[in-house]
Symmetry: D2
Subunit: 354 residues, 4 copies
């Protein structure tokens, strides 16, 4: 109800603020018997971790995860898995000067309006630091999916005007941008540095695909697989658009151009992005998300304070110049959470399979 839970059968509830004691998550509904080691979760957390290159925020967090429950002798027990990550490198003083100001493009103003108060330190709950909990939970979902032969891969396809021209999945983890095109990665890095030099930031496009998804996942009408993916992706900080398969291109297409003919060997194209009528069709699932340029910029902007008086603000703190980069492991986590949930939900679709 208050919006901090996600999923129905594989269900997570997260907590924590940017400058609070700790962030964490409870994963409820994970079947018993899944092998889980803290190191596996750490691996995904490390991909999301700040301070790893000149292109991301310089906040230094070890982001060490601790499993508090639900795992016994390295196997899930079927009971809730609680995980916690303590905050370490907080510089709350960075925020003291602006604690009564609303940073444009941020949730400062809206949290204030909603709750009548706010934890102003680093954006509090609205900070992208919250996603550390999603990635920890996503690592478990990913493990569950891997046992079913499902893999999830995310990558940056565009930064500002620079688009990839090839998809070499082996390149993704070879550069700091999760980019499947080594050449484009370089150009993207330059665009980011350029923006940074001007105290500015830049937007990005991220694509996530799921391979090996069986046909039949997703529920009709409201909890369509694409609807849940859209929600999952749009819930990530800074995302302003989500599309599946051909996405916005369909507006200009004719039916004969957009349809995917079916043959005994499968679909001959994948305009649909792997989903028909809200249910997976066995093809690769393809989702793209548009991430706005970081709102925290060092250029001075107009704003008001909590008393409604006009003010100027130039965000200091430590920020990613392009939030799209670190969104990659987060988007993968969200895709994993949606698929794990729908995989489990689908277990009761047919009498024959009970």
């Amino acid at each position: 109800m208050a919006g901090n839970s996600f999923g129905q059968v594989f269900r997570i509830t997260t907590f924590g603020e940017s400058h609070g004691v700790a962030l964490g998550v409870i994963v409820d509904g994970c079947p018993a018997g899944l092998p889980i080691a803290a190191e596996e979760i750490q691996r995904d957390l490390d991909r999301r971790k700040p301070g790893q290159s000149a292109l991301t925020t310089q906040r230094r967090e070890s982001d060490r995860v601790q499993i508090l429950s639900g795992v016994f002798e390295d196997l899930t027990t079927g009971t809730p898995i609680a995980m916690v990550v303590h905050n370490e490198d907080m510089r709350s003083q960075d925020y003291a000067a602006t604690k009564d100001l609303f940073r444009p493009g941020h949730a400062d103003f809206t949290y204030w309006k909603k709750y009548g108060r706010r934890d102003y330190r680093g954006g509090g709950r609205a900070s992208a630091r919250e996603t550390v909990a999603r990635v920890a939970a996503g690592a478990i979902a990913r493990k569950l999916l891997a046992a079913q032969g499902i893999a999830i891969i995310g990558y940056v396809t565009q930064v500002g005007p620079v688009k990839i021209t090839k998809k070499d999945f082996s390149a993704i983890n070879q550069n700091a941008l999760f980019c499947p095109d080594a050449d484009a990665a370089e150009a993207m890095a330059n665009v980011i540095k350029e923006a940074q030099a001007k105290k500015d930031s830049i937007g990005a496009l991220v694509e996530v695909v799921a391979q090996g998804v069986p046909a039949g996942l997703g529920e009709p009408v409201f909890d369509k697989l694409d609807a849940d993916l859209a929600k999952a992706m749009m819930s990530i900080n800074a995302v302003k658009g989500v599309e599946i398969g051909d996405g916005f291109r369909v507006v200009e297409l004719r039916g004969s151009q957009n349809c995917d003919p079916i043959t005994p060997k499968g679909f001959t194209s994948n305009h649909a992005g792997g989903i028909l009528g809200g249910i997976s069709n066995g093809d690769e699932i393809v989702v793209r998300l548009a991430l706005k340029p970081t709102s925290s910029i060092a250029i001075e902007q107009d704003t008001i304070d909590i008393h409604g008086k006009p003010a100027k603000i130039a965000t200091k703190g430590r920020h990613d110049p392009c939030v799209g980069i670190r969104a990659v492991p987060i988007a993968e986590a969200m895709m994993a959470l949606v698929l794990a949930d729908h995989f489990l939900r689908d277990r009761t679709s047919q009498m024959e399979r009970l």
Copy 2:
């Protein structure tokens, strides 16, 4: 769980198939004391109704709604409001010949895989006819919102290559396309007829705005207002993309271009589309959705039958050549459902307001 419910506090559950006995909805959680007359609901249903122009399907349905419960002496009582619309103009025989074939671009194949069987008549539950229930429920949500000074307006902004060049809201209900640009409407109609003449179909872009939304609606993290809107819109048949405010344009923008400065008089621009950190900021909420061209086309396509054998199919039946048109009242309904739910959810945000 099975995906036929939407909303948390203002919650609807729908039922019904394209060629079944009836379609309907239960609205649970509507506060007591809202004036409701069947005619008001009918008004919205009539906007969605098929067979109203040459540009939509020729299926003739009166779509008369009957209220079965929850309203007494013209006021809601706080108990569930059940509404039902009986099917009338079914030509199930149109589907007899193709009952063992999977129509490309449709849910035939995926429902078969999920459930091991399907109601093949007119797509069964996967038919867009299902949305009649959403529109009926949306009419009540809209009434609730109107009492709070919130209005919702949807319209077509693009059909194939034709884009609107102005937004004259008074024009929207003056043409069969819900288009706020009378000239563009004519050009759009021509594009549709052209596609139809070639047994083909065409995509469309729809925009929905909400005016008068107070700041503070939406929940943090997962149930962000934009996340729920994205799910709501993506759950509509044929939608392949959803964006908020600047949407996919943000990819190429810099932070200084995308931010909305704040002044004592409000935001000086609305790149954000009225939502910051998942919570409404008091500005107009702006959502766009991309609708694919109708998958049911009379051009012959490759497919397989339920035994996996190759076959050819040219969909007959009666279909909209551009599903985007009739999506307008549906998208308005979904926007109303999301906002009504979040308006009610927000009632418990602050101790001061309990």
Copy 3:
């Protein structure tokens, strides 16, 4: 949220008032492929139907159920099953005289306080007539359970001071009281007639057992099987107490008297009522519920009107002198709904069984 839904995976949502147009239910989450005929549902409804003996209300309702969706060619399709029962024998005029009075022991006063208004005709939504929808849904749950070898049997064990002294299940449907002891049934009937003669009513005790339930159903901590059964039973009109196995007797027992030793052949006793730690242990599940005497009595009582002024009321209308009798099929339905839901929920407990 508004309380008209029950269950998580096998989930029902009901609607309807005592004197409204119709009552009904949407069953969502029933697996595809379950054979369902309207006659099977009717069979359960007929057991609950009013006017069947001198011991129950004389309201005459045929209670014919119509299936509106979700069943195709006599099998469930996996989509929502909507069922509706129209009201026929309403005498709303019976309530005109008391429409401004609160009947003691009824929900009149509390609905008024909660909603600021109420449908006074026959108790509106608070009427036990609402349970017709539960029984219809329960019939489908029962069918699902039967396919797993699970059977549910309910019966009256006490009316006023008269208790059964034997449990002959074959006798249950041979008398108007669902009593497994023919002799006790006669004595119970006399107690009821006696109360009726004095314009009064009488309480009753109902027991429901489930046979064939496999070990492992139920979720830890909050959604324990017994916790969900307690909620299910307490949600039935007039129920004031629920117990499992030895129930309230445990207060006076020692651990050595209350424990059920385990042997390779199973438990040697069933003090636990088939549930340990909230999870079924494979033994018979035993639940008892206490039903208060009907609050609608023809003896004059003190009350107030909606303006707070004192008044006298002697309920007329047509009422069961012992609501416990007709509670039997309702309690069976609720037990079936809980077990069907937990059976489906348990499908994802173990990786090995996915």
Copy 4:
């Protein structure tokens, strides 16, 4: 879905095992602006704490709670409140010898059947130690209710054959049994010691009342206030029966004996226990729960091992001889959680109050 969450608007999710790293809870949906200090929560935890008298388990836990999120400058912020209690005095070796045996009366057997494995140390998740999380969350609910003038008081009314003969609320915290009758408390203590001396245990009856509850809380049909209370109480370890107001006594009562007449000054009696039609009527809410004698007894019992072979077991470990005593603060917490949730849910019942 997996049963570790409770409540709809004021919603908690708990985690943790008896001998794991820590136990804890996330409270989601608490309105912003509620003053909360860790000491207040500690106060309630201390009442539940083990090792406080000879009548309870000798396990020594400081049960220090740490708030990880959701509170800023001593006020709730509206975001999730996570609390954690670390385990300290674990003697897991006590369980090594019986790790392959199922303790009769415990969840050992049923968890094994459900999950195919189990954390055998101290009962794992099924241990009553889990309730530390409920009490922590309940303390916040209680604070919220206190701001509305609602108070909750629990006490023991019977241990084995010894019943209280008076209710002196000031006595409750003056004895180790939470007993409102000092004399009865002594007799109860003797009954417990007697059972203990014989390596046995004893049952108990607990009553919880809520004062100051306004009329109108509770939702119709399934989420009745009494139904949710029944679930809440039955979900507590060892509870086998729940009743409201007159409870099981109603079976033998006539309508004229059980009804509560209404006068301009209120109800003249409270047979109903403060709830009519599932909604609070403004009177005191009265709930009673029956707790079975502790299943862990040192008397040897028959059981089997995980391979199905017969065995003998006499539980060692450290256990409460009468679990009913420490159930008092737990039952209070559950009552507080139900009322806080329904108080918030009721905020949207009427258009006039939005």
